[in-house]
Protein backbone atom coordinates (compact mmCIF):
# COMPACT_ATOMS: atom_id res chain seq x y z
CA UNK A 1 0.00 0.00 0.00
CA UNK A 2 1.74 3.18 -1.12
CA UNK A 3 0.96 6.65 0.16
CA UNK A 4 1.87 9.99 -1.34
CA UNK A 5 4.83 11.66 0.41
CA UNK A 6 2.51 14.11 2.21
CA UNK A 7 0.20 11.29 3.28
CA UNK A 8 3.18 9.23 4.44
CA UNK A 9 4.38 12.16 6.52
CA UNK A 10 0.93 12.64 8.06
CA UNK A 11 0.65 8.91 8.72
CA UNK A 12 3.96 8.97 10.58
CA UNK A 13 3.20 12.18 12.45
CA UNK A 14 -0.40 11.57 13.52
CA UNK A 15 -0.93 7.82 13.24
CA UNK A 16 2.42 6.56 14.46
CA UNK A 17 3.00 4.96 11.06
CA UNK A 18 -0.14 2.81 11.28
CA UNK A 19 -0.95 2.77 7.57
CA UNK A 20 -4.07 0.62 7.95
CA UNK A 21 -5.61 3.04 10.42
CA UNK A 22 -4.56 6.05 8.37
CA UNK A 23 -6.09 4.71 5.16
CA UNK A 24 -9.25 3.59 6.94
CA UNK A 25 -9.64 7.06 8.42
CA UNK A 26 -8.83 8.74 5.09
CA UNK A 27 -11.32 6.59 3.19
CA UNK A 28 -14.03 7.35 5.75
CA UNK A 29 -13.30 11.05 5.48
CA UNK A 30 -13.46 10.96 1.68
CA UNK A 31 -16.93 9.47 1.90
CA UNK A 32 -18.07 12.43 3.98
CA UNK A 33 -16.31 15.38 2.38
CA UNK A 34 -19.02 15.96 -0.22
CA UNK A 35 -21.60 16.16 2.57
CA UNK A 36 -19.33 18.58 4.43
CA UNK A 37 -19.20 20.78 1.33
CA UNK A 38 -22.99 20.78 1.14
CA UNK A 39 -23.29 21.53 4.85
CA UNK A 40 -20.90 24.47 4.48
CA UNK A 41 -22.88 25.85 1.55
CA UNK A 42 -26.09 25.57 3.54
CA UNK A 43 -24.62 27.18 6.64
CA UNK A 44 -23.16 30.05 4.66
CA UNK A 45 -26.41 30.63 2.78
CA UNK A 46 -28.35 30.65 6.05
CA UNK A 47 -25.70 32.81 7.75
CA UNK A 48 -25.58 30.12 10.41
CA UNK A 49 -22.22 31.22 11.73
CA UNK A 50 -22.05 28.90 14.72
CA UNK A 51 -22.73 25.84 12.59
CA UNK A 52 -20.30 27.03 9.96
CA UNK A 53 -17.62 27.58 12.58
CA UNK A 54 -18.16 24.11 14.04
CA UNK A 55 -17.80 22.60 10.58
CA UNK A 56 -14.57 24.35 9.60
CA UNK A 57 -13.18 23.93 13.12
CA UNK A 58 -13.51 20.17 12.73
CA UNK A 59 -12.26 20.16 9.13
CA UNK A 60 -9.17 22.09 10.16
CA UNK A 61 -7.94 19.13 12.20
CA UNK A 62 -9.30 16.42 9.93
CA UNK A 63 -7.44 17.85 6.93
CA UNK A 64 -4.25 18.34 8.90
CA UNK A 65 -4.29 14.72 10.03
CA UNK A 66 -4.60 13.64 6.39
CA UNK A 67 -1.63 15.76 5.34
CA UNK A 68 -3.58 18.49 3.55
CA UNK A 69 -1.89 21.33 5.37
CA UNK A 70 -2.87 24.13 2.97
CA UNK A 71 -6.53 23.15 3.16
CA UNK A 72 -6.23 22.89 6.94
CA UNK A 73 -4.85 26.43 7.04
CA UNK A 74 -7.72 27.62 4.91
CA UNK A 75 -10.19 25.98 7.29
CA UNK A 76 -8.44 27.68 10.20
CA UNK A 77 -8.76 31.04 8.42
CA UNK A 78 -12.45 30.39 7.85
CA UNK A 79 -12.87 29.49 11.51
CA UNK A 80 -11.32 32.80 12.53
CA UNK A 81 -13.54 34.72 10.10
CA UNK A 82 -16.63 32.82 11.24
CA UNK A 83 -16.10 34.13 14.75
CA UNK A 84 -16.38 37.65 13.30
CA UNK A 85 -19.63 36.65 11.54
CA UNK A 86 -18.61 38.70 8.50
CA UNK A 87 -20.08 37.16 5.39
CA UNK A 88 -17.79 38.75 2.78
CA UNK A 89 -14.49 37.07 3.71
CA UNK A 90 -16.28 33.79 4.30
CA UNK A 91 -17.83 33.94 0.85
CA UNK A 92 -14.42 34.71 -0.60
CA UNK A 93 -12.58 31.89 1.20
CA UNK A 94 -15.15 29.11 1.32
CA UNK A 95 -15.16 28.16 -2.39
CA UNK A 96 -11.48 27.24 -2.09
CA UNK A 97 -12.10 24.82 0.74
CA UNK A 98 -15.29 23.50 -0.81
CA UNK A 99 -13.38 22.79 -4.02
CA UNK A 100 -10.72 20.87 -2.12
CA UNK A 101 -13.34 18.86 -0.24
CA UNK A 102 -15.09 17.89 -3.45
CA UNK A 103 -11.79 17.04 -5.08
CA UNK A 104 -10.81 14.83 -2.15
CA UNK A 105 -14.25 13.21 -2.17
CA UNK A 106 -13.62 12.13 -5.76
CA UNK A 107 -10.39 10.51 -4.62
Amino acid sequence: MSLSPQAQLACERYFGGNVAMFTSYRDGCRERFAADALAGDAALAAQAWVEFKLLVHSLKTVLRMLGHDAASELAAQLETEAVQADKAPLQALWPGLRGTLNELARG
Binding site: M21, S24, D27, A39, A48, T61
Partner: protein, 234 residues
Protein backbone atom coordinates in the same frame (compact mmCIF):
# COMPACT_ATOMS: atom_id res chain seq x y z
CA UNK B 1 -51.02 22.07 -13.04
CA UNK B 2 -50.56 18.59 -11.67
CA UNK B 3 -47.02 17.90 -10.56
CA UNK B 4 -45.37 14.55 -11.06
CA UNK B 5 -43.95 12.52 -8.20
CA UNK B 6 -40.47 13.35 -9.44
CA UNK B 7 -41.19 17.05 -9.20
CA UNK B 8 -42.75 16.91 -5.76
CA UNK B 9 -40.56 14.36 -3.97
CA UNK B 10 -37.33 15.82 -2.60
CA UNK B 11 -34.14 13.80 -2.91
CA UNK B 12 -33.71 13.73 0.84
CA UNK B 13 -36.01 13.12 3.77
CA UNK B 14 -35.88 13.70 7.50
CA UNK B 15 -35.11 10.97 10.02
CA UNK B 16 -38.79 10.91 10.99
CA UNK B 17 -39.90 10.50 7.38
CA UNK B 18 -37.37 7.71 6.85
CA UNK B 19 -38.64 6.02 10.00
CA UNK B 20 -42.18 6.13 8.65
CA UNK B 21 -41.10 4.86 5.25
CA UNK B 22 -39.26 1.91 6.78
CA UNK B 23 -41.71 1.30 9.61
CA UNK B 24 -39.04 1.74 12.27
CA UNK B 25 -38.26 3.92 15.23
CA UNK B 26 -36.37 7.17 14.65
CA UNK B 27 -33.57 5.76 16.79
CA UNK B 28 -33.20 2.81 14.45
CA UNK B 29 -32.82 5.15 11.50
CA UNK B 30 -30.12 7.10 13.36
CA UNK B 31 -28.27 3.85 14.00
CA UNK B 32 -28.55 2.83 10.36
CA UNK B 33 -27.10 6.17 9.28
CA UNK B 34 -24.21 5.77 11.70
CA UNK B 35 -23.57 2.29 10.39
CA UNK B 36 -23.51 3.55 6.82
CA UNK B 37 -26.61 1.59 5.80
CA UNK B 38 -28.38 4.79 4.79
CA UNK B 39 -26.69 7.74 3.14
CA UNK B 40 -27.16 11.02 4.94
CA UNK B 41 -25.75 14.43 5.61
CA UNK B 42 -26.43 17.00 8.26
CA UNK B 43 -27.96 20.42 7.99
CA UNK B 44 -26.17 23.33 9.66
CA UNK B 45 -28.63 22.84 12.53
CA UNK B 46 -27.43 19.28 13.01
CA UNK B 47 -30.48 17.53 11.52
CA UNK B 48 -29.93 14.47 9.39
CA UNK B 49 -31.12 14.52 5.80
CA UNK B 50 -31.35 11.03 4.41
CA UNK B 51 -31.10 10.09 0.75
CA UNK B 52 -34.43 8.69 -0.42
CA UNK B 53 -32.57 6.53 -2.91
CA UNK B 54 -30.69 4.85 -0.07
CA UNK B 55 -33.96 4.34 1.83
CA UNK B 56 -35.55 2.74 -1.21
CA UNK B 57 -32.46 0.63 -1.85
CA UNK B 58 -32.54 -0.62 1.74
CA UNK B 59 -36.22 -1.49 1.39
CA UNK B 60 -35.53 -3.49 -1.74
CA UNK B 61 -32.73 -5.39 -0.05
CA UNK B 62 -34.87 -5.95 3.03
CA UNK B 63 -37.62 -7.43 0.92
CA UNK B 64 -35.08 -9.66 -0.75
CA UNK B 65 -33.91 -10.81 2.68
CA UNK B 66 -30.42 -9.45 2.26
CA UNK B 67 -30.37 -7.15 5.28
CA UNK B 68 -30.65 -7.58 9.01
CA UNK B 69 -34.09 -7.48 10.55
CA UNK B 70 -35.06 -4.12 12.01
CA UNK B 71 -34.86 -5.59 15.51
CA UNK B 72 -31.17 -6.26 15.02
CA UNK B 73 -30.52 -2.63 14.28
CA UNK B 74 -30.95 -1.68 17.93
CA UNK B 75 -28.11 -3.87 19.12
CA UNK B 76 -25.20 -1.71 17.99
CA UNK B 77 -24.46 1.97 18.13
CA UNK B 78 -21.10 2.31 16.48
CA UNK B 79 -19.82 3.96 13.34
CA UNK B 80 -19.12 1.42 10.63
CA UNK B 81 -15.82 -0.35 11.07
CA UNK B 82 -13.41 0.11 8.20
CA UNK B 83 -10.62 -2.34 8.44
CA UNK B 84 -9.45 -1.89 11.98
CA UNK B 85 -11.62 -4.42 13.74
CA UNK B 86 -15.21 -4.12 14.79
CA UNK B 87 -17.07 -4.46 18.04
CA UNK B 88 -18.28 -7.98 18.58
CA UNK B 89 -21.95 -8.58 19.10
CA UNK B 90 -21.15 -10.37 22.35
CA UNK B 91 -19.49 -7.24 23.64
CA UNK B 92 -22.47 -5.23 22.52
CA UNK B 93 -25.04 -7.43 24.19
CA UNK B 94 -23.13 -8.55 27.28
CA UNK B 95 -24.25 -6.37 30.18
CA UNK B 96 -20.94 -7.06 31.95
CA UNK B 97 -18.99 -5.38 29.16
CA UNK B 98 -17.56 -2.00 30.07
CA UNK B 99 -19.32 0.85 28.33
CA UNK B 100 -17.68 3.75 26.55
CA UNK B 101 -19.91 6.69 25.66
CA UNK B 102 -18.51 8.91 22.93
CA UNK B 103 -20.10 12.36 22.70
CA UNK B 104 -18.84 13.78 19.41
CA UNK B 105 -20.62 15.63 16.62
CA UNK B 106 -18.03 15.11 13.88
CA UNK B 107 -18.62 11.95 11.88
CA UNK B 108 -14.93 12.01 10.94
CA UNK B 109 -13.92 11.75 14.56
CA UNK B 110 -16.71 9.37 15.49
CA UNK B 111 -15.05 7.08 12.97
CA UNK B 112 -11.49 7.57 14.20
CA UNK B 113 -12.30 7.45 17.91
CA UNK B 114 -14.52 4.43 17.30
CA UNK B 115 -11.61 2.65 15.63
CA UNK B 116 -9.34 3.42 18.57
CA UNK B 117 -11.85 2.22 21.15
CA UNK B 118 -12.54 -0.98 19.26
CA UNK B 119 -8.86 -1.67 18.79
CA UNK B 120 -7.74 -0.99 22.34
CA UNK B 121 -10.86 -1.91 24.31
CA UNK B 122 -12.31 -4.73 22.18
CA UNK B 123 -14.35 -5.93 25.12
CA UNK B 124 -16.10 -2.59 25.47
CA UNK B 125 -19.53 -1.62 24.28
CA UNK B 126 -19.28 1.67 22.41
CA UNK B 127 -22.20 4.06 22.32
CA UNK B 128 -22.19 7.33 20.41
CA UNK B 129 -24.12 10.57 20.89
CA UNK B 130 -23.63 13.31 18.36
CA UNK B 131 -24.71 16.28 20.41
CA UNK B 132 -24.33 17.37 23.99
CA UNK B 133 -27.96 17.15 25.04
CA UNK B 134 -28.35 13.62 23.68
CA UNK B 135 -25.02 12.78 25.27
CA UNK B 136 -26.14 13.89 28.70
CA UNK B 137 -29.33 11.87 28.36
CA UNK B 138 -27.42 8.78 27.23
CA UNK B 139 -24.86 9.21 30.00
CA UNK B 140 -27.68 9.20 32.53
CA UNK B 141 -29.18 6.08 31.06
CA UNK B 142 -25.97 4.14 30.46
CA UNK B 143 -23.77 5.27 33.36
CA UNK B 144 -20.75 4.46 31.19
CA UNK B 145 -17.36 3.45 32.55
CA UNK B 146 -15.69 5.96 30.26
CA UNK B 147 -17.05 9.23 28.88
CA UNK B 148 -15.12 10.38 25.83
CA UNK B 149 -16.29 13.90 25.16
CA UNK B 150 -15.59 16.57 22.55
CA UNK B 151 -15.78 19.92 24.28
CA UNK B 152 -17.13 21.90 21.34
CA UNK B 153 -20.56 20.54 20.53
CA UNK B 154 -23.71 21.95 18.99
CA UNK B 155 -26.50 22.82 21.36
CA UNK B 156 -24.58 23.06 24.62
CA UNK B 157 -21.67 24.95 26.10
CA UNK B 158 -18.76 22.58 26.54
CA UNK B 159 -17.88 23.85 30.00
CA UNK B 160 -21.49 23.40 31.11
CA UNK B 161 -21.52 19.86 29.76
CA UNK B 162 -18.28 18.93 31.50
CA UNK B 163 -19.40 20.55 34.74
CA UNK B 164 -22.71 18.67 34.62
CA UNK B 165 -20.95 15.38 34.03
CA UNK B 166 -18.46 15.98 36.82
CA UNK B 167 -20.88 17.24 39.42
CA UNK B 168 -23.70 14.74 39.07
CA UNK B 169 -23.43 11.83 41.55
CA UNK B 170 -24.88 9.53 38.91
CA UNK B 171 -21.59 9.72 37.01
CA UNK B 172 -19.31 9.11 39.97
CA UNK B 173 -18.34 5.73 38.53
CA UNK B 174 -17.45 7.19 35.15
CA UNK B 175 -14.07 8.37 34.00
CA UNK B 176 -13.98 11.40 31.73
CA UNK B 177 -11.58 12.05 28.86
CA UNK B 178 -11.91 15.19 26.76
CA UNK B 179 -10.89 15.29 23.11
CA UNK B 180 -10.70 18.58 21.28
CA UNK B 181 -9.45 20.47 18.25
CA UNK B 182 -9.16 23.65 20.30
CA UNK B 183 -5.66 25.06 20.71
CA UNK B 184 -4.25 26.25 24.02
CA UNK B 185 -5.61 29.79 23.66
CA UNK B 186 -9.05 28.54 22.63
CA UNK B 187 -9.09 26.16 25.60
CA UNK B 188 -8.49 28.95 28.11
CA UNK B 189 -12.18 29.63 28.84
CA UNK B 190 -12.66 25.95 29.64
CA UNK B 191 -9.68 25.54 31.97
CA UNK B 192 -11.70 25.79 35.14
CA UNK B 193 -14.13 23.09 34.06
CA UNK B 194 -11.28 20.88 32.85
CA UNK B 195 -9.17 20.86 35.99
CA UNK B 196 -7.96 17.33 36.63
CA UNK B 197 -9.44 15.98 33.41
CA UNK B 198 -7.20 14.47 30.72
CA UNK B 199 -7.47 16.56 27.56
CA UNK B 200 -6.21 15.17 24.26
CA UNK B 201 -5.85 17.25 21.13
CA UNK B 202 -7.46 15.43 18.24
CA UNK B 203 -4.26 15.36 16.22
CA UNK B 204 -2.71 13.35 19.06
CA UNK B 205 -5.52 10.88 19.75
CA UNK B 206 -3.86 7.92 18.06
CA UNK B 207 -0.84 8.18 20.33
CA UNK B 208 -2.31 9.59 23.53
CA UNK B 209 -5.79 8.13 23.79
CA UNK B 210 -5.07 4.37 24.05
CA UNK B 211 -3.12 4.54 27.35
CA UNK B 212 -5.73 6.90 28.77
CA UNK B 213 -8.53 4.52 27.82
CA UNK B 214 -6.77 1.59 29.43
CA UNK B 215 -5.97 3.56 32.56
CA UNK B 216 -9.51 4.89 32.81
CA UNK B 217 -10.98 1.43 32.54
CA UNK B 218 -8.57 0.05 35.12
CA UNK B 219 -9.34 2.95 37.43
CA UNK B 220 -13.11 3.06 37.05
CA UNK B 221 -14.84 1.21 39.88
CA UNK B 222 -17.59 -1.25 39.06
CA UNK B 223 -20.98 0.41 39.38
CA UNK B 224 -22.08 -2.18 41.93
CA UNK B 225 -19.19 -1.34 44.26
CA UNK B 226 -20.61 1.66 46.10
CA UNK B 227 -17.98 4.06 47.25
CA UNK B 228 -17.78 7.66 48.21
CA UNK B 229 -15.56 10.42 47.02
CA UNK B 230 -15.13 9.03 43.52
CA UNK B 231 -15.56 11.75 40.94
CA UNK B 232 -15.70 11.91 37.22
CA UNK B 233 -12.23 12.93 36.28
CA UNK B 234 -8.79 11.70 35.55
Amino acid sequence: MTQTATETTPAHCSTLEAAKLLGMAVRSIQLMVDRGELQAWKTPGGHRRISRVSVERWLVKQRAGLEESPADVHSQRVPPARGSGSMSRSAASNPASPTVLLIEDSLHYQHLLGMLVREHLPQARLEVADDGIAGLAMAGRLEPNILLVDILLPGIDGAALITSLRSHPQFRHSRLIVVTSLDEAQLAPYRFALQGVPVVHKTEVVRQLPPLLLAALADAPAPAAESTGVQVGS
